[in-house]
Symmetry: C2
Subunit: 666 residues, 2 copies
């Protein structure tokens, strides 16, 4: 046909006529969850259904229909789940996640010709118009379906129709059973399927809900005078578990280098008894797959892992790739490092700073690809074999992205339950990219969000913008590297309010020991702790007066009992009239659990505010009588609907947590 | 190598080890503009540079570099434009658009090894550290580049370096000229290029900036007693142009059917002299490529198009696909229509309503693909050949999306200056989809956004969310189908404020005649005009007292003189303390023109408000002394920086428009 498209002179994309005439009539848009158009998986969790959404757009007013098609990676068979129209061209369905690993899904839509005719018939009948033609058209479709499928039920329907009068025919053709039957044999006119298939990576619960506690094993001897051991850590497990923590995280446990070893408080020269930084990994005793002899043996470490499991705890290990100059790899694999023109090794440096106690491996040095990458993967696999399934990864943003993507997928191909926490304190896009390529969870900017407004903005970013599909924040209230400035002069109330924020805003929160005794002694007023355990042994008295062990214990118990607090998602902020108070409702995915939290950001003075309470905040119908149970004080309050006045006294409790229920259900 | 990836048992995506070791080190994300990941073009405009943006993400702290690669569809050669880092991993560059049609672009990034060494050298030197090794490494790179390229300038640089002392070497290696030279011969380590290539579709100015005026030619006879003609329309051109309009839009000009013709005010039975609805297209005199004989001949229509151009106006025609039962196609091509089981034709109906004066073609009927599609394309091409380059398309959302995508691309492959306005008053996602597949501009929800808050939310959606890249709103203040309820009792002030909103919020606005004399007489209080021209001839006295011709004329002049008002983009809302006043600043893309607008949404009472004026609102540096010129009153005001009090009196002028300038530049 002349003029039937051909090649558009304005473009090198051929506008092939016939191909375009065959182009899908129905458009599918905004399929969710989708991370970078399927390049990366969205995150899922075993036991939690995932909502799939799609915009289905078609000309005219015909009835549309659609399904989600989904399968696990191990299966080649699709399962279909029917989509439901939510309005404004948006359709959704839930698919179940019952096992770890990758799941694939896509969506399919079509025009439901039979339903379209029935709808027309019903409308015209209601308007008193004749539907004789619609009856005939609908019956013709039943006949076609019967002939195509040979289905007995359709044959029986045709027989009944042939004996029915017009009113009976109308009832028969438009009843729900017939609708379902015709759906089953629907030839799916104008069927279209979304490409590409999208991916969900499902993990175990600890990926998303866990309370972390961090200690340096070497500080765990009972009297603090000798070097602590794995066996000392075992003795500490009951206390850690009693506080309600799930994960016990240990900084590197490997031999520590001697060359250029750092002294106390990060001084450049170590004394003869200084233990050095455990991040200067490797010495004569071995490298990343060895255990620092003063901590014990590999066998004792395995015993620690087993004992932790018996206490309901998991051990998380540090994976820090840098090497001390004494690491065996420098001798055995000089091709894995960068060397200067004078034959010296390239130390880590960020002028004017030099870090001469460590050297970085060179991932792209000649001779390092792939042998270095494989060796590093083997290090992780070695510790997995010893019983470790959670890794906190040191500074992943200074190592190549393809390394992480390959390594994490490789490890998880054997055990999809292995979890990686990214310690990337860097710009946001790198943090998010690391989450996309496989890190289960990430440290965050939490410790630097110190006003209610900043915290709210950060939570809105994490829970309503693209990161919601792939980034899981782990809110550490402090770390050995971060002694938050906010806590330097906040006193005990500051520790309480920061604990409450972390424990209620995110499913993942973490505490580095010392926080529970409100330690904030700083080196030179900076974010660094004085006498940091990174460079020396410390003795901790965690039962000293003023500790907040009871409050932390209670927070962890409340988290365990309230699914609404087991994720950062499902949050809704409640307006208050006081900028120093942050108030929010969290609800569980199934809406069965709802919690209201109010936190004052002021550790020094009483803060009052008014909040407006109405049932819809908690997913409850208008007019529901509600009971609010104060979970910290274990007392029940009848909140009036409407405006309520709160007062948060830092010297009593700078926050409050209520569980909202219908008053009739105790 | 054992364990080197292989196939992941959890997935059917092979984690081929070596492929992943070769995966790009540098990640490119969020390349903009991008519509559905390159499936559709973003919109461009001849004469307007387009900003390209990308997130470039890489491990470590090395210096990165990148370019935009772009070309027109006619060219196979890429042009490179260097990207500049804006902060937070975001890089941008502008590319020029000098011709209509498709443009392709992508981005490329790499690690600038030479710049990284120079940066390290500069920092270490500043810190008083030795840079001997860095000098040697940088010189080695110059030598490599020289050997690789044979470039004379590099050879000369090496000679100069060999005679220089250390300080001179440092200066030579780090100066700007050397940086540029080394950039030119940069081997682009870890080079990565974004896929897919993305697309921009560039149009002429009228696609984005034009003032539309709509008339029914049949009502244009001077005395109103006889049927108007194309020649009568020619006589009206000076008046339309004097009001400052650019496009004169005519409803369908084709023969009108007689079967089931509609009477006055949409009655079901037409009187013998009733002219019928011009949307019931086709009769004995011809179909979509014929002219209604009472309007004149095809030759006279061509004369109108030519006369319009001479007056600086363009004629826009309606493209309405439905047919009257008398359309020749029903006889000639019964295969293009739907027929019922009783042999009758399927009329348009939306129960309980029936539209028996029109039948719709059936795009997917057997025998309609592709012959019907081609026939419709030929209709549009016919009118292009007669001199029409702008089409207003009636109800495109009830015709298949692939038809539009093919047809518009086909027409624009011969003349990329042809413009299509979508009249899709439907759900938002369909409106946006039509824009994506090729419609240049679209009618909008403007007429139903009657509070300052609603209007602001709508503008935020159009200018900051994905539609900003592909959807151009045409703000009609009224149409023959929409007699806005808001105007029924607003009086003249309502017409003024709605005109001001449309003319200043969007680059495209439209007026259907009668608006300028504040006509709002409605049929039964509905949105329908009383005695609508759709069904009868009307006589208009557009100079009657109370008309707003002067104000419309002034608005169009202000639009022409202020590039800031020539697009809906570039808007920033200014907070006020009065919810009835909408206040906004618009700036031109190059920031050289800035306009402040305040509009009261209350046509009945005086509204006062306070607005906060500061130079950054207008893209000016802090502390700039500013002059505000009132463009409606032609008077200059010195605004105080800070809070200013405004009063908008509907009986004087319910809006104000100021141009902001530095006070020193008159």
């Amino acid at each position: 046909v002349s003029g039937l498209g051909g090649t558009n002179p304005q473009t090198d994309r051929p506008l092939s006529g016939t191909a375009l005439f065959d182009a899908p009539r129905i458009a599918l848009e905004a399929v969710t969850p989708s991370v970078d158009n399927g390049r990366f998986p969205a995150r899922g969790l075993v036991g939690h259904d995932i909502e799939i959404g799609v915009d289905i757009i078609c000309d005219g007013h015909d009835v549309l229909a659609g399904v989600v098609l989904w399968r696990t990676a191990a299966s080649t068979e699709w399962t279909e789940t029917r989509l439901a129209l939510q309005g404004n061209d948006r359709w959704t369905a839930y698919i179940p996640i019952t096992q770890m690993g990758l799941h694939y899904f896509t969506v399919e839509a079509w025009l439901d010709v039979y339903a379209s005719i029935c709808l027309q018939m019903t409308k015209k009948h209601a308007a008193g118009q004749s539907v004789a033609l619609e009856l005939q058209e609908a019956t013709d479709l039943v006949r076609e379906a019967s002939e195509r499928s040979g289905a007995l039920a359709l044959h029986e329907l045709l027989v009944r129709l042939s004996h029915a009068d017009e009113a009976e025919q109308r009832d028969l053709l438009t009843d729900d059973g017939t609708a379902r039957l015709m759906q089953q044999y629907d030839p799916r006119a104008f069927r279209v399927r979304h490409t590409p298939e999208l991916v969900i990576d499902a993990e175990r619960q600890a990926a998303s809900f866990a309370s972390w506690y961090e200690i340096f094993p070497r500080s765990q001897s009972p009297d603090g005078d000798r070097h602590g051991t794995f066996t000392d850590v075992i003795a500490r497990l009951p206390a850690v578990r009693d506080m309600g923590f799930d994960v016990l995280y240990l900084p590197p446990i490997h031999p520590i280098g001697r060359t250029n070893r750092k002294g106390r408080n990060n001084t450049l020269v170590a004394g003869p008894d200084d233990p050095g930084s455990p991040y200067a990994i490797g010495g004569a005793e071995g490298g990343h797959d060895a255990v620092h002899p003063e901590l014990g043996t590999l066998e004792e470490f395995r015993a620690l892992c087993a004992a932790a499991l018996e206490h309901g705890l998991e051990i998380a290990l540090d994976f820090a790739i840098q090497c001390s100059p004494d690491h065996p790899w420098l001798r055995e694999h000089p091709e894995w490092f960068n060397w200067r023109p004078d034959g010296s090794i390239q130390y880590a440096e960020n002028p004017p700073k030099r870090y001469e106690d460590i050297v970085n491996v060179a991932f792209y040095a000649k001779g390092a690809v792939p042998s270095l990458w494989i060796a590093l993967r083997d290090v992780v696999q070695f510790w997995v074999t010893q019983g470790v399934r959670i890794f906190r990864v040191d500074n992943p943003h200074t190592k190549p992205l393809p390394f992480w993507e390959w390594m994490i997928a490789d490890i998880r191909s054997r055990d999809p339950g292995v979890i990686f926490l990214s310690e990337a304190f860097t710009r946001p896009k790198m943090m998010y990219r690391l989450a996309k390529i496989g890190f289960t969870q990430s440290y965050t900017y939490f410790t630097w969000r110190n006003t209610a407004r900043e915290m709210r903005e950060y939570m809105v970013e994490l829970t309503t913008q693209p990161p919601k599909d792939f980034f899981r924040p782990n809110f550490f209230v402090n770390t050995p590297d971060i002694n938050p400035i906010f806590l330097h002069d906040s006193g005990r109330p500051g520790f309480l309010l920061r604990a409450a924020l972390a424990a209620t805003l995110s499913g993942l929160w973490g505490v580095y020991n010392g926080f529970e005794v409100c330690d904030s002694k700083a080196l030179h007023g900076r974010e660094e702790y004085l006498d940091s355990e990174k460079y020396q042994l410390r003795k901790w008295d965690l039962a000293q007066p003023g500790n907040i062990v009871d409050e932390i214990t209670k927070l962890n118990r409340i988290r365990r009992e309230n699914p609404a607090l087991q994720s950062h998602l499902g949050i809704r902020f409640v307006e208050t009239d006081n900028p120093h108070v942050l108030c929010y409702v969290k609800t569980s995915p199934d809406q069965s659990n709802a919690v209201l939290v109010a936190v004052s950001f002021d550790p020094h003075g009483v803060q009052d505010c008014t909040i407006d309470i109405w049932p819809a905040l908690f997913g409850l119908p208008e007019g529901t009588q509600m009971v609010m149970q104060d979970l910290m004080l274990d007392q029940t309050t009848i909140f009036e609907l409407g405006l309520n006045r709160l007062s948060l006294d830092p010297n009593f409790m700078p926050f409050a947590i209520w569980r909202a229920r219908r008053s009739e259900s105790p």
